[in-house]
Symmetry: C2
DNA sequence: CTGAAAGCGCTAACAA
DNA sequence: TTGTTAGCGCTTTCAG
């Protein structure tokens, strides 16, 4: 940095200002310094900057499972958004475990500017305590004291159930994930508010979990099901086919998330798409980059849309109103 | 740190030694210092440590595409291995692009202890130059000047082609990915060495790419194909089904990577499994943690195995020797 | 608007 | 085996 200072004929402190608060530097000086920076290919030392109290230029992204395609896509979006803001991102896997979440937040908090927690399960108080003065942002879980982006879970349930009803289905089930998830609770409430739908809660939100749910579906004479996510939907779909059922004729399945795999299965999976890229971008934008800036809206709910890849009326009954063949 | 020093009645420098070179400190002192560390819940400041020339405790992991399930799984493995070594990991997406790779390596190099590059496409020289004094490790690409872990590509081709031949297939195609990939070149050579197999090179290694390949397959009267990876295999499989073919009766498909999705498709996909966790672990273990340590073996090749989920002989011909129904 | 000077918390010679 | 002493490269008051 002092090299740059010499070359542009200013004091080292001025170079620092050019980098951190360009608005207080005369335009002419700004130009000269920038020129020197370029000629010398100077790049600030992140460790020193951190030590002296500045930004680290790093944000943390914590996801329950990196191998889960939904979270992989989310991480990709977060990474891209952070890159645009000039930040690097550190990742860690929390394994859907509250204790691990706390431990990891503690471990990373001191060395990052902010942490984005995706679908956290630990208590807000515990997380906040572990974070100390490091900023937190939640994705897919609402909280009063932490800025958050969520996907409207009630809308997911409504869209999916409506879809089924319009096709003429009358025996519809909504399956939720583990009760520790915020989204499970939301879906449960939405389903109950809707009435006249069968609810299966606390299911394992995986491919295998989906397969395990089929029995209960059959027992309850269900003709249409709203799965907790695409992985589970695919599991249900596969188990149904293995069981000799025809999908969607005997059992209509709607997933959620619109992971790539949903379009690849056959039959392709109808799903309620979450705007994953937007989720990631919003999460990053919720970070208070200027320590003292007024908080931006700290609670964003993103809309979803249904992607219909595969629709039929229930077998024994013609639909009252059919949207498409 | 000086608090800890006071509390344990030693000099601050000794605390530093306890943390960095415990072997030169008297056991009794070690104990006292550790006790103080715990009581004070002291945690070293990573920025300061970095500034003073020590480890950063961070490694970088660069993958072509975070949303690709193979790389997501690989990243998960790398993250887990790094976590075990007490390191955190920074990620970035290189988008299979040489220029982006160089740019990202430049951006991260100064702030990490080492960088693990997965399936890099940029030149070794360029990468090395961008990395400066930062250590590099390659995954899925061999290089003379850079420690690397690879999956044995020739073995993949051999296993898959053998599998098809044993089932009685005689019109076998091997499809490779973009020619900029090290693995594509390896597979090409392996296929040529094998002889009597049809080669389709430089295909798009995605689901859509697989679909596009079907035409060439049909034109060449192929009954069995070895795809570049599972995504492509799934694409071929799907296109074949859409085209009215029966899989595997009309067209037998083998993929590679054994991503989760391979087991979920129907029919399930036979694939050559790469030991992803081991890949990640090995990559991390290849990092020279002690600056001056003698290099460990710097070129590791990992074996693969075929996972048979779905086999049949070609339609018009009974197999000479059939391994299973 | 810019220069001067004081650390941030740690590692690494060097001395004892 | 431990204490002493310099910085590492930057941000930030405080003057001017």
């Amino acid at each position: 940095m002092s090299d740059v200072a010499h070359r542009s004929g200013v004091h080292q402190a001025t170079v620092s200002r050019v980098l951190n608060r360009p608005e207080v530097v005369k335009t002419e000086t700004l130009r000269r310094v920038h020129k020197a920076i370029e000629e010398l290919e100077y790049a600030p030392h992140t460790g020193a900057r951190h030590l002296a109290g500045g930004r680290t230029g790093v944000i943390a992204a914590f996801v329950p499972d990196l191998a889960n395609p939904f979270f992989a896509a989310l991480l990709k979006a977060i990474q891209a958004a952070a890159h645009n803001m000039g930040s690097r991102v550190m990742v860690a896997d929390t394994q859907f475990d509250a204790a691990t979440e706390i431990e990891i937040v503690k471990k990373f908090a001191a060395s990052v500017d902010a942490a984005v927690l995706c679908s956290p399960v630990a208590s807000t108080a515990g997380l906040l305590a572990a974070a100390g003065s490091t900023q937190l942002v939640f994705v897919n879980r609402a909280a009063v004291r932490v800025p958050s982006v969520v996907v409207d879970q009630a809308e997911i349930v409504n869209l999916a159930v409506d879809h089924h009803r319009q096709l003429g289905h009358r025996h519809i089930a909504v399956v939720t994930g583990p009760s520790s998830y915020w989204s499970s609770a939301q879906r449960l409430r939405a389903a109950q508010r809707l009435g006249a739908v069968h609810v299966i809660d606390n299911a394992d939100p995986t491919f295998e979990g989906g397969a395990k749910v089929l029995g209960s579906l059959l027992d309850a004479d269900i003709t249409a099901v709203v799965a907790f996510n695409d992985l589970m939907a695919l599991g249900i779909l596969r188990a149904a086919v293995d069981h000799g059922l025809s999908v969607p004729d005997d059992l209509s399945v709607v997933g959620s998330d619109n992971i790539e795999m949903a379009a690849m299965s056959s039959p392709a999976l109808t799903t309620v798409a979450a705007p994953i890229d937007e989720l990631g971008q919003t999460a990053v934008s919720l970070i208070n980059w200027q320590t003292s800036a007024k908080k931006s809206r700290s609670r964003v709910s993103l809309p979803t849309r249904l992607i219909d890849r595969n629709s039929t009326a229930p077998r024994t009954q013609r639909p009252a109103q059919q949207t498409r063949g």
